[in-house]
Subunit: 453 residues, 2 copies
Amino acid sequence: MSPSPSSPPTDELAREVDVEELTGAELAECWPLLDADERQRALSLLPRREGEDLFLTRATPEQAELLLGLPADERRAWLRLLPPDDAADLVQHAPPETRGSLLDLLDPVTRREVGGLLAYADDEAGGLMNPHYARLRPQMTVTEAISYLRRYAREHREGPYYAYVLDADQRLVGTVSFRELFAAEPGARIADIMRKELVTVSDDTDQEALSRLFEAHRFLALPVVDGEGRMKGVVTIDDIVEVVQEEATEDIQKMGGTEALDAPYLATDFFTLARKRAGWLAALFLGEMLTATAMGYFQQEIERAVILALFIPLIISSGGNSGSQATTLVIRAMALGEVRLRDWWRVVRRELASGLVLGGILASIGMIRILAWQLMFKPYGEHYMLIACTVAGSLIGVVTFGTLAGSMLPFVLRRLGFDPASASAPFVATLVDVTGLVIYFSVASFVLRGTLL
Amino acid sequence: MSPSPSSPPTDELAREVDVEELTGAELAECWPLLDADERQRALSLLPRREGEDLFLTRATPEQAELLLGLPADERRAWLRLLPPDDAADLVQHAPPETRGSLLDLLDPVTRREVGGLLAYADDEAGGLMNPHYARLRPQMTVTEAISYLRRYAREHREGPYYAYVLDADQRLVGTVSFRELFAAEPGARIADIMRKELVTVSDDTDQEALSRLFEAHRFLALPVVDGEGRMKGVVTIDDIVEVVQEEATEDIQKMGGTEALDAPYLATDFFTLARKRAGWLAALFLGEMLTATAMGYFQQEIERAVILALFIPLIISSGGNSGSQATTLVIRAMALGEVRLRDWWRVVRRELASGLVLGGILASIGMIRILAWQLMFKPYGEHYMLIACTVAGSLIGVVTFGTLAGSMLPFVLRRLGFDPASASAPFVATLVDVTGLVIYFSVASFVLRGTLL
């Protein structure tokens, strides 16, 4: 990259960089701007310690890319820097044919742990969990606990945020935060200062539920326990920030009518991008073809009153727009846990009322527009009032249908076990287009029968 | 709420609750399901300490609601539980007429701090920052530092995650994480173990940039410094998880063509919800009216070849769908910092190519459909081949235009200082509908002149 003096001033973070002149911290900041080769070069140019810090703080896909970009004999030292949960993530992100050789680079103990973690899905608590955590016994004094934690810290690169108090059967009986440990009387027993009200997750808790728990409790880490309450590991908040962003990105991409991308937009190669878009686009197109079929049924009506054709885009788009609004609001509320499946009836009542109000507003605007044009240009002939009524009536029907369909589709998808976010704006718009035509021509044949039709 | 035996099994977290039987931790979990009255009652039923913990872990809008729901003479003790940054957030979320009386409840020192924080916008580092943090001197030994931090922890409810090393002018010279402090030799000097490569933010760093820094560095807290490097406070990761969710929710709502809601969907009252949707919907409707105007210009063509009207919804919707995809991908990539303003030319080239490929795919499907129908039902008359070419040519044009317009609109909005997320799917669809009609009828008059037109 070369310096570009014309970089636009409103983009505050925009800055062309020369990787050779940067410190590790500066590199971390401009990292997203570099391509794979520049990253590899930047890493090799940094002092070892800074390079290690940079590597440790990268997101998993980049860690995998960086590691696999190194000569085979340098990989071991870098891979062993990682705590087991991050090593497992990295191995999972590496191409399948390289995984075995990566696992071989680990020491036998870690390899067994990582192997265990690999058995979990990437998006479950088990897959995000670190099997190392600071464990205390209820009988310890605060002073003993602190001196144990000092030893623990010397041996581990991550955490600890909380210490976990286990009984002789490895069952979790309490937690102590560092703040509480520091604040306690030196001679107090852990059993007396620990919190016994535990919030725990199991190893198959999915990451959306996990992120909601972190938000609800503002914890820095949550313990993962098995069915008998035995402690298996911890999930820490720094992984959750990444998870929350990833989940939102996936939902947003699906809601825009694309398959979720696995990599940043500019880093996704052209054919992958086109493929992820073409699938949905073609499916929607096939659905949308029903509009041509529907219009075929109404061809005679259009021939008799071409004027009706003028309002087709206006009416079906209004249905699509109101459907997009409703589906987006409901999908997001579901993702945040604000709306559950059994809330469907509350949502139906709300959206039915919203649809009628919003449809009424658009109908009024549409009516004013037709009457105003008629006054000025007389384009609609003697039956302009009937045409205005047809358009207004159709708008109320189409917007109400769009709103209801858009709000219910995420419920239906979830009930059937699909991701509600697939109820994308384009999907709802396509659904509403076909129905919108039927509504429009039905209203028209009712209002205009005997005059225009 | 009463127990409902019919709650659907797929909704794993769904559970009807009786607030009187729950512990604080259980209440926290089902909190989103309760309405304001049930929350207030639940809080009053809990033992004081559990109630306080629950209150402390709520999101700010709920803390404000809970506090204002209490009798006036009970509010002081609850408000004073909060660290200054959270108290400032709460005051900012309270109705303006109650803010003065809330500030009066604080002790004079905190009131001054909160007053200072209130001067910052809610979505800047300054507004999220806690002015309390653990500060060390470079000359301290590790043992001295640990014993100071034990005192600190006794006096503060939040953190600390890191200790900040300041010189005599309050300038930040280094940071020490707890792990590092614990791992160091007891007699070592802080100056020798602290990290001197600092990542800092200023008090007007906006929260989107903040969350990107937290993601890039996996820090638990970031120091806020002024122009001279003097330490002003810290922003901690637990606030960032909330920020990331909020930002994503706002973007998603805008991308669905609604104004961002300030509260959860079901907690937003009906008229606020309708108002936030009606604005954009009416604006889009006014824009969409241009389609009726455009169709007016092509009325003669439609009268001569009604067959053309049949494909109008199909063609304009395909443009809208491809535009939705493109705008969604670009908006999200911008929000994540993957795409900057100056990347616009790379995006144009990519999306131009995508548009042509996607348009080509849809055109082929459309062509096959028309030829197949003609073979089976003969609905399109003798010029069916010309009609098929018109539809196919228009699809390539409309999809390419939709893709380009959808991908460029976020750049234009950002360049003009607006939020790129306003380039919602419905906005792009409306824009493309009008242009799509013009493209379709232009292609038609070129291909069909002398035959059907």
